[in-house]
Amino acid sequence: MVQNIQIMILGLALGGVYALMASGLTLIFGVMGIVNLAHAAFMMAAAFMAFFIFRDLGIDPIVSIVITMPAMFALGVIVYKLVFARSFADPAKRSVMVLMTFAMALVIEGTLGFFFSNIYRSTTPSYASEAIIAGPFFLPSAQLYAMGLSIVILGALWAMLKFSRTGYAIRATMHNRTAAEVVGVNVDRISMLVFGIGMALAGASGSVLSFVFSFYPGKHWEFVAILLSLVVLGGMGSLLGALIGALSLSVVAAFVSANYGPTWSPVTFYLALFVILMVRPQGLLGKKMEL
């Protein structure tokens, strides 16, 4: 029993981290209608950033989000201006846009791999090898801190969306782009902002993953498939859905991992994706927009 609760707690912790990673993805989809297949690749870039910040500047990876988030935000704005600014409003071009993100992912992976090679890396702050012992539970500090950070960032995101003027504009654009335009929201600027925010979230995710996982450039595909699975489960465009998807699937995956080995943990997510597609393709809380 204790064993099972422990697994569940760890599953939830990991789910919190995945929720943070998926939030940027689903936000971008909700506003722009584009699935950013390069999201995890950007996360990898941020993870490398955190890695070198830790190794060469001695800055703790959690603290490093102060650097990675703004840097990734800026990168997101640049990428938006270069690649997306004109084209994505046309629904017919959406498939092409998704392909474009795929291509970007390859470019990032190749560049990272070329400069930093394909060896496994992770940042190693002290807590990465510590654990908190609470009663009968043995809880690795890294996962807990990661979860804590994710909660804080997601909470801030939620507050911004719910209460700030910009948050209203973003939500309005997600609900009904034309209506938002008609009340004076500058939907192009909002899209750019959201892409930047999505990238900033990828930046935070990268810092987090640098001490929770060991990573290498090619690993982003695995992350992308996992994130997309839980976003599809929760419903594209729904932040709450992403959270639910992340927590529920991660717990299941944790049990799979504990009982069958960690190799099969990703498979849980992939199979969940196919099951959802068979049963309810729009996910639990998905927008009614074209899948």
Binding site: S95, V98, L99, E109, S229
Partner: protein, 337 residues
Amino acid sequence: MTQAADNAHPGAPVAANVNPSRRNLFIVVIVAALAFPLLQVAVGGLNYYLHMALFLFMNIAIASSWNIIGGYAGYISLGHNVFFAIGGYAAAILFAYFGVSPFIAFPLCGLVSMAAGFLIGAITLRARGPTFIISTIALVLLAKILLDNWPYIGGTNGISLPLLDLPVEYVKFPFYYAMLALAIAAVALSYAIRRSKFGLGLRAISQDETKAEIAGIPTRFYKILAFALSGLFIGMAGALWGYYLTYLSPVIFLSILVGAKFVLMTILGGRGTVSGPVVGAIVFILANEFFVSQFGASELNIAATGLALVVVLMFFPEGIVGTLKKKGRLPKLLDWD
């Protein structure tokens, strides 16, 4: 004879619509391709060119096949190398465990791929657009984990096959002719689909699936059929390629980069057209070869593939053939639609 109209009525005999000079070109090219290995017999030392040629034929077959689902139907599959792997491993199993040569088994392996296509398509094609694309990535990653953990076929260590027992000057010949046959068959299939009611239906689906449904087109069946057909020749190619390499491992067949190249070739040439994938395969193979000789097959290759795709998508998303056609400057030679 007049140039064939884009939607010539489906029953028309194919030969009657082919421009005579184009038909002559095909004949010349095919005869030349058939005869090329004889040069090796006469002169020798052409193994590199034989290799490039058969690699090209294979990719023509692959690109033309991907085009059926990615171009005609408009459903972009980023994990299509799954069929490559299914065919390859099916052949490897038949050969390693049952002694059946891939040269005999490869059509069966293609059919196995196609059957898998029906099953997989029945699930994944319930989604449209971006969700479908996601499912194709998940598919190839799932397949890799499954194969990595299947000891019967060697898991991550892969499986070795015995070398074909021919002198080194001639060993590539059977592969050469088999791949040539695949290329011709795949292009012929692509052409036949393009001119058929099925092809028209697929095009309607790619333009506006809801309207196509309303118009009475059996969209679900057509999509799944297209997906399955697109796996047929890719499976056969995989069966032969594994034997050619004499070694298969999941990472060779199931890395995302392989699938990405399928996509790049077809889009570069012009998806949705018959000649586009052929042109794309040729251009891509030459560019790739040049790149590898200059920079090696490293991570840079991944970056370059991505960059090439970005450039094509940004500046000429209809591909070489598609863009020329749009501007009315496509040479008749290349207009096979």
